[in-house]
């Protein structure tokens, strides 16, 4: 099967007053039709810039795509002219944003905003466009769309507006939907509804979703494949099952440890020490080494000539010299799992291959919900 979207060695730079920064380096990932790829990472790790680069929405200048390819159905989006890109945006690839409160234009009714895109991409009359808009509002579960289509954004709640954004994005039946933290700004019950809605619409239309999030719960429920990003690079990518069962990269492990668990009675939540480095001054070698628990642990028992002392967050730590000097590449650790860390046992023998995770999770969501309910019922009877 050929991927719908294939990002190959994407490099993005921003020219700032204090020199060039590189928020995205050698990023490769792929999405297959009907697949949900979750892109995970802390704030500032480059996931949003990657997403914006796909639609060429990064401000240029100061932004610049230095190199790499973004192949959408075989066409390189990086090389397209702006007018051609306008036909891709909205029609082939749509995007929904994090903040539904500000993503709709306050001076137009929601109908006007949906109709404008529909008319542009589908070449229909105003009357037909209104019908399509009403239908797509209906599809996202807005009651009484005939009346609400004439409402202004300020008359709606956050969850409603995000539904409108989704309706707008899906009104032209795109093949790929980029959802940049679509539920971060919403409260938890609305989050669940919106994600359920996205899953339902994905089943109905067969579109692919690139889901950008930092919520591992969202990943576990929705993703087929996962790409973990840290400090401008993809550090691990795998199927969702493999990643949750056998995380390879210490950063991924750290993310999992940071998820609070109900059955643990901890006074402090576990965190990854330190913070994502500023793109203007990334550390040398593996960009994760100042925060990495694995390299510290291994350095403790390693010969002194293989370790280096350095300052991190005010304390002196001892790490492996290789992690400081040499940047790891994304290598195929096992089938359908790629990771970039020197300290994975099979890293040295693994090959550098383009990460292509062609995988669709077996269980549909209803099943998983049912299974969860079954589990819960078992737990009660036991």
């Amino acid at each position: 099967m050929t991927p719908l979207l294939e990002i190959k060695n994407l490099n993005v730079a921003f020219n700032t007053e204090r020199g060039q920064i590189r928020p995205v380096r050698d990023v490769s990932m792929s999405i297959f039709p009907g697949q949900t790829l979750a892109v995970v990472g802390e704030s500032g790790c480059g996931k949003s810039v990657t997403a914006l680069s796909i639609l060429r929405l990064i401000p240029q200048p100061p932004g610049k795509i230095l190199g790499g390819q973004i192949l959408f159905e075989g066409r390189d989006l990086v090389a397209l002219r702006e007018e051609e890109m306008q036909r891709v945006r909205g029609k082939e690839i749509a995007m929904i944003f994090q903040e539904p409160m500000t993503s709709l234009n306050p001076v137009y009714t929601i109908g006007d905003q949906i109709v404008e895109a529909v008319k542009l991409h589908q070449g229909v009359t105003s009357r037909e466009a209104y019908q399509i808009a009403e239908q797509s509002l209906n599809d996202v579960g807005i009651s009484d769309p005939h009346r609400r289509i004439h409402e202004y954004p300020h008359q709606m709640s956050g969850g409603m507006r995000q539904r409108v954004m989704i309706a707008m994005a899906l009104s032209c039946r795109p093949k790929l939907l980029i959802a940049d933290e679509p539920t971060t700004a919403l409260d938890v019950t609305i989050q669940a509804q919106i994600l359920e809605l996205l899953r339902k619409l994905q089943r109905e239309t067969g579109m692919a979703i690139m889901l950008i999030t930092h919520d591992l719960g969202v990943v576990a429920e929705n993703a087929d494949a996962v790409a973990v990003m840290y400090a401008s690079r993809v550090v691990e990518t795998a199927t969702v099952e493999t990643l949750f069962d056998q995380p390879q990269h210490p950063y991924t492990e750290g993310l999992f440890r940071s998820v609070p668990k109900l059955n643990e009675n901890a006074a402090r939540l576990t965190t990854i020490p330190g913070s994502v480095p500023n793109p203007a001054k990334f550390p040398s070698g593996c960009k994760f080494h100042p925060r990495c628990a694995r390299t510290r642990k291994l350095a403790a028992s390693a010969p002194a000539d293989q370790t280096t002392e350095l300052k991190s967050g005010g304390e002196i730590i001892r790490v492996l010299t290789r992690c400081v000097n040499e940047e790891p590449e994304l290598r195929e650790i096992q089938p359908r799992q790629w990771a970039a860390c020197h300290q994975i046992a099979s890293y040295n023998s693994a090959k550098v291959t383009p990460p292509v995770v062609d995988h669709k999770r077996e269980v549909t969501t209803e099943h998983s919900t049912e299974a969860m309910q079954l589990e819960a019922a078992k737990g009660q009877t036991a």
Partner: protein, 393 residues
């Protein structure tokens, strides 16, 4: 089609309603409406030619026969505006605005082509006919004198003009014998036109240049700001004086010069708004849905940037009116004989140096009230649009 009970209003519409709800703004609007009414219906209000007349058994309208293309255009355009914006509200605003623009252009063209008033005006014609008893019935305008009517039939060597206010001429006459009240009413046209046309030009240039600067930033912004600084350094009044002293006097050139030098403030406002808005999510969303640059800039960013511009426009109108009055007062404004408040002020000091109060007071009050009214509206708009005073929509 729409549910009338819950007519949703956009943020701007609500701000407008808030503005109109203020007493001060309402007073301002009432005064501007009076001026606008006088401007449009000037020939009905002050005219030497009767509105309707029955002569030798025939009905006719001498007023209509002496309509100028301006009279016809103003009447048709006002009528069209009322029909389009009051009675046809169920159509989309954009469609109505386009229809209105088309009607304006068409009326101007047609009236210039087909409306030909008599080349020579004999203002006393119907007064003479009435005296000789040829007129059986006549409906005169409330002020039966045109501003160009120098009362040649009432010439009296013992009573030279200007006359102070009397029962026939409530506001007196000027040095040529023209009725001041008539002059005042016809001068409303210049006051309205100078304000709106020059501010319109300033808004158009300001939006265009400010929008480009704010949206594209970088080099465009750098060059645009230099242009703004150059134009900001031109003193409007001196440019006007220099121009008028070299070329012939022309109200449209005056409007164009006022407009072409006062767009600087608008450009700065629009630039600031565009800079703020270009990074907003809904602009990103508009680009992400594949809209063209033109549509993103003018359909999505511009309407959100209009608020501060409305405020600056209402103050701009006021200062344009003042500029024209100053020019006319200096005797460098309109061609001689055309009605303007400033031109009346100019005559307030008579030949012998005596102050003729009625030539100073009435136009002075009119200028003051008009400028004040626009400032009141601008002030109320600014309060209504200030996000600190109201929950930002």
């Amino acid at each position: 089609m729409r549910d009338e009970r819950t007519v949703p209003r956009s943020w701007l519409a609500r701000a407008m309603l808030d503005t109109v709800g203020k007493t001060s703004a309402r007073l301002g609007l009432i005064w501007i409406s009076v001026i606008a009414f006088c401007a449009v219906f000037a020939p009905f209000l002050a005219n030497s030619y009767p509105i309707l007349v029955k002569m030798n058994g025939h009905w006719s309208s001498p007023m209509a026969q002496h309509f100028t293309p301006t009279d016809v255009t103003l009447l048709v355009v006002t009528f069209a505006a009322i029909v389009l914006f009051v009675f046809l509200q169920r159509f989309r605003l954009f469609a109505r605005l386009s229809a209105f623009a088309a009607i304006v252009v068409l009326t101007i063209t047609l009236s210039l082509l087909f409306v030909h008033p008599p080349l020579t005006n004999v203002f006393e014609q119907y007064r003479d006919l009435a005296k000789s008893g040829d007129v059986q019935w006549a409906l005169d305008a409330p002020i039966p004198y045109s501003p160009g009517d120098h009362l040649r039939d009432q010439f009296d060597p013992d009573r030279p003009h200007p006359w102070s206010p009397n029962s026939a001429h409530r506001m007196g006459t000027d040095q040529f014998g023209a009725d001041i009240s008539s002059h005042m009413i016809h001068a409303c046209r210049v006051a309205m036109a100078v304000g709106f046309i020059s501010t319109g030009i300033a808004m158009f240039i300001g939006i265009f240049i400010g929008g480009l600067m704010g949206y594209f930033v970088g080099l465009v912004d750098l060059l645009g700001m230099r242009l703004v600084e150059i134009f900001g350094a031109i003193p409007t009044l001196y440019l006007l004086l220099a121009f008028v002293s070299v070329f012939e006097r022309n109200i449209y050139v005056i409007m164009a010069i006022i407009g072409a030098t006062s767009w600087v403030g608008n450009a700065r406002f629009v630039r600031a708004e565009f800079l703020k808005l270009r990074g907003q999510d809904f602009v990103q969303a508009a680009i992400a849905s594949g809209l063209k640059l033109r549509s993103v800039m003018f359909r999505h960013v511009l309407p959100n940037a209009l608020a501060p511009l409305l405020v600056s426009a209402s103050f701009g109108i006021a200062s344009a009116i003042l500029a024209e009055s100053v020019l006319s007062f200096l005797g460098l404004g309109l061609p001689v004989g055309e009605a303007s408040w400033g031109a009346l002020l100019n005559q307030a000091v008579g030949a012998g140096g005596a102050f003729q109060w009625w030539l100073g007071t009435y136009p002075g009050i009119a200028i003051f009230l008009t400028v004040f009214a626009y400032n009141l509206i601008g002030e109320a708009l600014r309060d209504a649009l200030d996000p600190k005073l109201r929950g930002a929509g």
